[in-house]
């Protein structure tokens, strides 16, 4: 059974059952979607460079904001972490492959179909989805273009893909650990992913329920979201955010895992407070189910509901604080070096914490009345999505790329990319806090003259940030093709764990005979 990769290009990549090849497919797909979503963002920022309508029509602008959100969340960030999970989890727990290799390939191949269906709506009569990535009813039902039906089935397919992918990860972690690899010895990346997978299996069906209700309301005369029939548009928001809040942790927990691998390596110290990290991750996951209505403080809930969701939300700061404390304490008195993955990870800790603080501001129900639906919210979630998830994904690629392909990336180019990305990110999103506090609402294609300066600054930062991603792409391709060959299994001096015991580059099959973990 020690078969290598197929020599035929098409059969290797289309019919794969190998966790490494499927991981690679996920990563390239996610980068392609990242560029597509980034292109949409560039259109948005170009239009917002100056007040007044310059380049596109308002109807198209809202399609761009909607598609940017959908493509980035479901197409770029989530598949990127599934790709990392595919590559790393079997190697980290000493398994020969994922538990269900054929289903693994199915979970991947659903995605290109789903996103083709979703993006093809941009070229259809009526245009693409134009109701925001949160697709609130009745904008997404009564007032939506016909193409919303393609969106609905596209979301169903993404959900099916995510559920199958998560079931695979759960089965792998529960069933495929090497002898001696007890739960409390698993690397934190594995822990955060298995908890993420539980979240996905629990909430993706709820998202499927939400879009099913939309489908019924639009086409079959039901009245879930129509008060005229006794339903309630606010019901949509509750169902959506019951999915949506765990979803943001689905995005950020694997990022926590990545950073918890990288910081100990470059601090040359074990992770501080391993078990508290595990418990903190589980607590965050649990809390994520009981805080959803903090996204809807201004919708007219009873005061008791507002208070409950406010306090429950604030509780999340406790386990998150534990994590930030542990990362910093891991670095304390460590023999630190600042390779590119470490730079991205430190930036992650700082900027994610900043995004967490603005989250605390938003969690105060009374104050949220002012911040709600302004650029302050946009700035907040880009600090956690971009500086959180995207930075840690970038760090992960730099960290593991030498192991994957047996070649070292260009460190100088990596550092240049980091500094451009770090500075450009802050130029883009820091001013959006000021815009939001000054009252600029999100999702509008035009704005009052008083917002001009900061919008210009933000747009310049955005183009710079986009450019940094092209540098990233170039560095990765250059490494794979022409990077300096290395063969040290450990790659990084301080790296610990099973994945660093296999040869570099990692062979097609690893751990066909399980290692024994002491």
């Amino acid at each position: 059974m020690a078969h290598g990769p197929s020599q035929n290009f098409f059969s290797r990549w289309l019919f794969s059952t190998n966790h490494k090849d499927i991981g690679t497919l996920y990563l390239w797909f996610s980068f392609a979607m990242f560029l597509l979503g980034g292109f949409f963002a560039m259109v948005i920022r170009a239009e917002l460079f100056q007040p007044g309508m310059q380049l596109i029509k308002p109807e198209f602008f809202v399609q761009m904001t909607t598609m940017h959100g959908l493509v980035m969340v479901f197409g770029a960030i989530m598949p990127a972490f599934v790709g990392l999970a595919n590559w790393m989890i079997p190697m980290m727990i000493g398994a020969p492959d994922m538990a269900l290799p054929r289903m693994n390939n199915l979970s991947f191949w659903i995605l290109p179909f789903a996103f083709t269906i979703l993006t093809s709506t941009l070229f259809m009569e009526g245009g693409g989805p134009n109701f925001g990535w949160t697709f609130y009813a009745p904008l997404s039902t009564t007032y939506a273009p016909d193409t919303v039906n393609y969106f609905i089935f596209g979301v169903h397919m993404m959900g099916a893909s995510s559920i199958m992918g998560s079931i695979n990860i759960i089965a792998t972690v529960m069933n495929m650990r090497a002898p001696g690899m007890t739960y409390m010895k698993m690397p934190l990346f594995v822990w955060t992913w298995v908890i993420t997978a539980f979240l996905l299996v629990a909430v993706m069906p709820v998202l499927a329920g939400a879009v099913t209700m939309m489908l019924m309301d639009i086409n079959f005369g039901t009245s879930f979201f129509d008060a005229a029939g006794g339903g309630d548009p606010v019901l949509f928001q509750h169902v959506f955010w019951f999915f949506g809040h765990p979803e943001v942790y689905i995005i950020i927990l694997p990022a926590f895992g990545v950073v918890s691998q990288i910081i100990p390596t470059f601090s040359r110290k074990p992770l501080f407070g391993y078990s508290s990290m595990v418990y903190a991750t589980a607590s965050i996951a649990f809390l994520s189910f009981i805080v959803w209505a903090h996204h809807m403080f201004t919708v007219g809930m009873p005061i008791a509901g507002e208070l409950y969701f406010m306090y429950a939300t604030m509780l999340i700061a406790v386990p998150t604080g534990v994590k930030v404390f542990n990362w910093i304490t891991t670095m304390y008195k460590g023999a630190l070096t600042f390779e590119t993955p470490m730079l991205f990870s430190i930036a992650f800790v700082i900027l994610f914490t900043f995004g967490g603080f603005t989250g605390m501001m938003l969690s105060i129900a009374a104050a949220d009345t002012q911040y709600h639906d302004t650029y302050f919210v946009v700035a907040h979630f880009h600090y956690v999505m971009v500086a959180g998830a995207v930075f840690s994904g970038t760090a992960a690629v730099y960290y593991w790329l030498p192991k994957w392909c047996g070649r070292m990336y260009d460190e100088t180019m990596g550092k240049v990319q980091f500094w451009i990305a770090f500075i450009a990110f802050n130029i883009t999103f820091m001013p959006q806090h000021f815009l939001g506090l000054a009252g600029m609402p999100r999702r509008y294609s035009d704005y009052g003259l008083q917002f001009t300066d900061w919008n210009m600054v933000s747009s310049i930062g955005a183009f710079l940030y986009g450019g940094a991603q092209l540098l990233f792409l170039y560095n990765v391709i250059r490494t794979i093709g022409w990077g300096k060959p290395i063969d040290d299994p450990q790659v990084w001096e301080g790296a610990e764990g099973l994945e660093w015991t296999v040869p570099t580059p990692a062979p097609f099959h690893t751990f066909s005979t399980p290692p024994v973990v002491k």
Binding site: I218, V239, G305
Partner: protein, 322 residues
Amino acid sequence: MSSESSYYVPEQSKLPLMAATGMGAMGYGAASWVIDGGTSTIFLIGSLIMAAAMYKWWSLVIEENTRGIVSDQLKHSYVLGMYWFIFSELMFFVCFFGSLFYVRVLVGPWLDGEAAVGWFDDTATDAAIANATHLWPGYDATWPPLVTPDQVVTLAANPDATEFQFKGPEHAMSFPGWSFSQILGWLPLWNTIVLLSSSGTVHVAHHALKEGNRKKFVTWLGLTVLLGVVFLFLQAEEYIHAYQELGLTLESGIYGTTFFLLTGFHGAHVTLGTIMLLIAFLRGAKGQFTDKDHFGFEMAAWYWHFVDVIWIGLFLIVYVLG
């Protein structure tokens, strides 16, 4: 513990891409079908591809098992897969049960300008008061709701109106009353009896299989499939009755909406479970299950118990308390 000898990592396979293609055509086809003037062609082609892929996929897994390469550890992966698949199905129903709770306990009172639940919501919010004074004056929330807010407002403007966007049902499906004949003629009760007994018969079949009594196994499993079909037949009768005699349709406001979506999705799952049991029945009749190795049947049986549990929730919440 995993090793080359004990854990089977399959060779490359064309089936996943085939299934994904089928699913893609189904998704695209379903969307173009529901849009006015659309046809079902692409959806049907996708369904055929999907069905063929699933048939081939399961045949392959069965064939691998008969070749003896499916280790206990791999079987445990299948078990975990099925557990978590059932959990995801459960969460799908949680979404609809939660929505029913929300519209029934909270939205009704709010539409009628009141506070909903004392300890949680003791004074009517501004939004609720605005509902009663501006949007739906005169609407009186009850459960089951036999009139919709739209109906109340339209009738207030024009007492002779007969056309409504949402017209409430003439009757609901709730508990009919305590007299013997009322209970005897109450279809949901019969459905409950049918489905609960089918959970019993599938259990007997399982025990027979473990004892190695194939004849008894096939008989009781066949009975289970039959009870599944009876359940579906009774539910079809109930829907016809609702549409033709009770004026209860998908379009009769939130009651019809929640009633048909909850019972409908349950019925769809019963259909799926019946098909799974039927396949297990045919395989059992061919002697493909042994007393130690009958995982395909066990999966179908778990699914069937799951469908049963959902029905008990439906029976209590949608029918008895409905």
